[in-house]
Structures are given as C-alpha cells and as structure tokens.
Symmetry: C2
C-alpha cells in the first residue's frame, strides 16, 4: 500500500498526493512510515508562509501569486490552514481550485487543512503535508494561515519566508502587529493598496521597521551606518548579510504588484541561501520537529502506562486522600521506565 | 535538612516558609521531596486568584483585602506573579511587606515570584508555593497576576475563586476581556469606582455577563427562567446550583467596597462547597498536575537519552543528509524504552 502510494506520488499523480495529505491529516494507520519515507525526496521546494488578519485579502493574493508562478513555468502547492473551523468547507476548496485552474492544469494544488484534533497536532500535520508537496516536486509551497493566534504564528514560521499581509488604513492593526508578528515577518504586503489609508499604513509600517532596526542595532552594538539596498538586503559596515523586511503594495484583485511580490520573494530566497540562513533554518526546524515528535510519542507511551495502572482518576483519588501526591505519582510511573533505560545502558 | 525545614514550617515559622518557597522557586536540590511531603498537610486554604490589566490597582486591592482578612482574625499568604521581569525588585516586595505590616504581625506573608526559567516552570512553581502556604496553615492564599498572557491566565485559574479587576472607563478593555478572561472570572471588580466611566464599565460588564448567560442557557437547553439571588447564586428552574459572576465596585485606596468583596468571595466559597465544584476543581487540578509533572519529567529523561546518543545536533546532521528523518529519530530513541516497559510488564 505505502509502496504504491509513494511510487504514484513521486511519479507526479495528484490523486496520490491528495490521498497522502488526507492520511496525514487523519493520522491514518501507516502515515508515519509514509512521511518518514518521503523525507529523502524533500529539500528542494521554497516554502512561503502567508499570514494576516481576516479580510486582508490573503486568499485572493495567494491565488494570484500561484498563477504568477505558473506563468513562470513553476509548480505550486498551497496549504490553507483554518484553525477556527473544525472542518473547512469542500465548497470553498472547490471554488479555489476552479479559480486557480484557469492556467489549464492541476499544477496549482490547493488543499485546506483544519484543526480536527488539537491545534498542536495541526502544526505537525502541516509540516508533514509540506513534506508531501516538496517530495512530489512542487517548486513553491505556500502555507496560508489566518494570523490570529500563537499557534498560527508557530505554523507559518516553519516557512522559509514569511509574508505578512496588512490591510490599508489599519493604524491600530499596525500597533497590534508588534506583538509577535513583526519578529516573524520577512516582508510586509499592504494589499488593497488602491484604498484610502494605504499610504499611511505603508508609512507606519516603515517607521515600525526602522524603529526595530535601530533597536537591534543598539542591542548588537552596530552603530555604524546601514545602507539599505533597493532589494531589501542591507550592506552593514562590517559586510555581514542582513535583511530588512521590505514593504510591497498590491491590489490582489487586479494582480497589481504581484510581479514585484514575486521578485521580493526571490530576493529573500537568495538572501537565505547566501547568508547561510536557509540551512540554519532547516536545522532548527528539524531539531524542533524531533523534540515535538519525541514529546508527542512519549506522551502516548505515558498515557498508556497511566491507563494500565488503573487510569488517571485512580491516581487522583489517592492524591485527594493524601495517600500520595502529584510528584510521587510521577516518580511512581517514571521510575521503572528510568530503571529500564539505565539497565539497558549499562549492559 | 528537609525534616527540620518541614518541622519548622509546620510549627509556623515564617522564615522556614520563606526558605521553602525559595527552594521551590530555584528548583533547589530536594525541593521535590519537600513539596511531596507537604501535600498531606494541604487542603484547608481558600485559594483566591486576582488578575487584571496593569494599572487596574491590583496590588493596592490585594493589600486591603489581606488587611480585611487579618481584621477577621484570618491568616493570609500572597504570591504575586510577575512573569515580565526576570527578577522582581526586592524593594517592591519590601514596601509591600511594610504596607501590610500595620496589622502588627507577619501573618500577611507576601512573596513575589518571577519567571526565572520558563513560564511553564513558573506555573508549576506557583502551584507548589500555594501548597507551602496551605500546609503552613494560611486560611487565605491569594495569587496575584498581571493578566496579560495565556500563561498568567493558566496560573490564576488554578485558584478556587478568580477575581478579575477592570479599570473604569475601559470600554475597549471590556471587549478585550472577552477573549479568555470571561471564562475564568468568578467575579469582577471594578476598582477605582470613584472615577468617571465606572458606571459605564459596570453596565458593559453586566451586559456581557447577561449575554454569556443566555448563550450558555441556549447551548445547554436551559430556556427556563433563571433568577439571580442578590448574592450571585442562581436558582435554576430545575434546582441545580449555578453561579453568575457578580460585579463588585471598590476604591482600593480608601478601602471602600472591600467589605463587600470579602462577602462575595465568601459566597463563592460556599457555592463551591455546596455545588461540589470545590472537589471537582481539586480533582481536575490534580489530574492536570500529574500530567504536567509526567510530561516535564519524561522530557528530562528524553533529553538525557538524546545527549547520551550524541546530542540533538548529531541527529539533525543525519536528517539534513537524508539518512534518517524526524519520525525515525523519535522511534529510534523511544523504541528501546517502549521495549523495556513491555518486557517489564510481561514478567
């Protein structure tokens, strides 16, 4: 089963890709082996995260971006994350596939994923789905999230490049952005740039970015002049690579500015490679993945142990009766496991 | 060492209590055994959480509340959580001890705790410190947090009763409260009630509480008339116990309204006992404690295993080279442990 599915996916069958992502999303039997075996085929896709508040025009912009890539002859996969709804509507998905299909092929592969189980699980599932798209051979993988909560921020930050969409005239929103979003943005997109207030929003974003650069410069002791190149890369006085988030203005509906967005994304991809950031990001992402999986897997193992010993409520009974306490319970469950590990190590 | 410390703490020596909490905060050697052994002496204190945005007047109100309890002949312990600063100023602590000491004794025990390590750790440390105060024999334990983030909410919700402070004239703040705070509030305090805008704030809070009650009624199918008693308890048509968060107006500086606050807190304590909520809360708190400790302890065990096998970076190297992948790494580390557990179980 897994052999055939992998073979079909690697051969470029979109149905196999869709089935693989469904297995990943459902945590269906065999999904671990599947993802595990796809890994060796990954590492070539550019992964782009797009986030922003609802109504910023993310879907339309992502559709246009995908179209632009297709016109460049590149293949594209899009994963739209919707943590708020337990199930994303098939109709929405269908519409978007149709919209994107005016390029006449299926090389823009859209998929929405939702928080069926826990949001933590969604983060792992997204990472795994990106792997499936990467192994399939998509040149560009776009992760689209509603940037509302910490979890969505955690998901989108697993991308190589993160674009944050800001609707125009949202002075307050720029203030809100400061908390968490600024740190993860590699570039800002002021979409609906034809609306009133767009100039002010660009201005406020620019001030915020400048303010932050100066803070960083002071913090790192870089007081030297920093020149910003038109493409967003900086040439520090000491010649190090650095990156200041550029601001791109778009009108997603008409496609205005999408070409510039493509080229800024390209600049960032080049910066990532040249600066060594691409490798550094991949490394820290894998370390995080290993730690997350270890934690999740160990948690399953421990839950099984707790159940085997009569379940959590039985332990709570004893804690309530002051026969034992939470620390002693944890020791009681883990001590035999630690002993096992120690014995095995010593032999 | 531990024997003497516990003996001194149980004998009512405040210095022993302070040393115990320091050990807990520092995760000093022996702190586990200490907390473990204190558990059997706990279960008698009323634990009250007080939260609210900075500037709402929490510290002053908590000081007055502690004073009021002292005048009733009750003993009080206060833990002030400051997650933002790595170290809380000794001066601030000193001031507050002085302020509270006009009752002429040390039975109002103040202690601030900060996020030295991780915020997650602070949550466990707070739970443990509450146990120390409870075992010591404090009648009332107050946990005071700045209700800014999810972590502070998680900390304060471990209390039996949660009071949320709202500054007057903060229409926007009432809106903001909806996200997360409303669910945990057992009562609201509009402090600085002598200021302009207090009436409006009370009005908005009342509307919000009513709106929520109706939502809950619809969701649970309770369409019958719900009468609110003056003390905040409801008498449902089907006779079940329920509780609608009352709103108390105070002027902490002058002490106005503090007496009413005391009596509402007393009402809630009685409601908790009568409804069985007190026991239910304790049970779910212990279950959560066990799960958290198991997770933390297992995580230490796994980190040690990863280090013994060459460290996380060595695994990342192999993942980067596509020799292995994160799922396989997790299996590789956990499989021998699972095998151990299985063998032990079968013999």
């Amino acid at each position: 089963m897994t052999d055939e599915l992998i073979e079909a996916l690697l051969a470029g069958e979109h149905r196999a890709l869709a089935r693989t992502i469904t297995k990943i999303e459902d945590r269906a039997p065999g999904y671990r082996e599947l993802v595990s075996r796809l890994h060796e085929h990954t590492g070539d896709a550019d992964v782009i995260g797009v986030t922003g508040s609802p109504g910023a025009g993310k879907s339309t912009l992502v559709d246009k971006l995908a179209e632009a890539y297709r016109e460049q002859g590149l293949t594209v996969g899009v994963i739209a994350i919707d943590p708020s709804s337990p199930f994303t509507g098939g109709a929405v998905l269908g519409d978007r596939i149709r919209m994107a299909s005016n390029t006449g092929d299926m090389d823009v592969f859209f998929r929405s994923m939702s928080a069926r189980g826990s949001l933590g699980g969604l983060s792992t599932a997204t990472t795994d789905a990106v792997k499936a798209l990467d192994a399939f051979g998509k040149d560009k993988v776009i992760i689209e999230t509603v940037g509302a909560g910490q979890n969505e921020v955690d998901i989108v930050r697993t991308a190589d490049t993160v674009a944050v969409l800001v609707p125009p005239g949202s002075g307050d929103d720029v203030q809100m952005l400061k908390a968490g979003i600024l740190e993860i943005a590699d570039l800002f997109v002021v979409n609906k740039a034809d609306l009133d207030g767009a100039d002010r929003t660009v201005h406020e974003l620019r001030e915020m970015i400048e303010g932050r650069r100066n803070e960083v410069a002071v913090a790192t002791g870089h007081h030297g002049a920093v020149e910003t190149e038109p493409d967003g890369t900086d040439t520090d006085t000491d010649g190090e690579h650095s990156w200041t988030p550029p601001i791109v203005e778009t009108v997603a509906k008409t496609g205005e500015g999408v070409g510039e967005l493509c080229s800024v994304l390209e600049d960032h991809a080049e910066y990532l490679t040249a600066s060594g950031q691409l490798e550094a990001k991949a490394r820290s992402r894998y370390a995080a993945e290993i730690r997350t999986l270890l934690r999740e897997d160990a948690s399953d193992l421990l839950a099984a142990e707790v159940d085997r010993r009569g379940g959590i409520e039985a332990f709570v009974d004893r804690v309530m009766d002051r026969e034992t306490d939470p620390y002693a319970v944890s020791d009681e469950i883990l001590a035999p496991i630690e002993e096992c590990v120690r014995e095995r190590r010593d032999t």
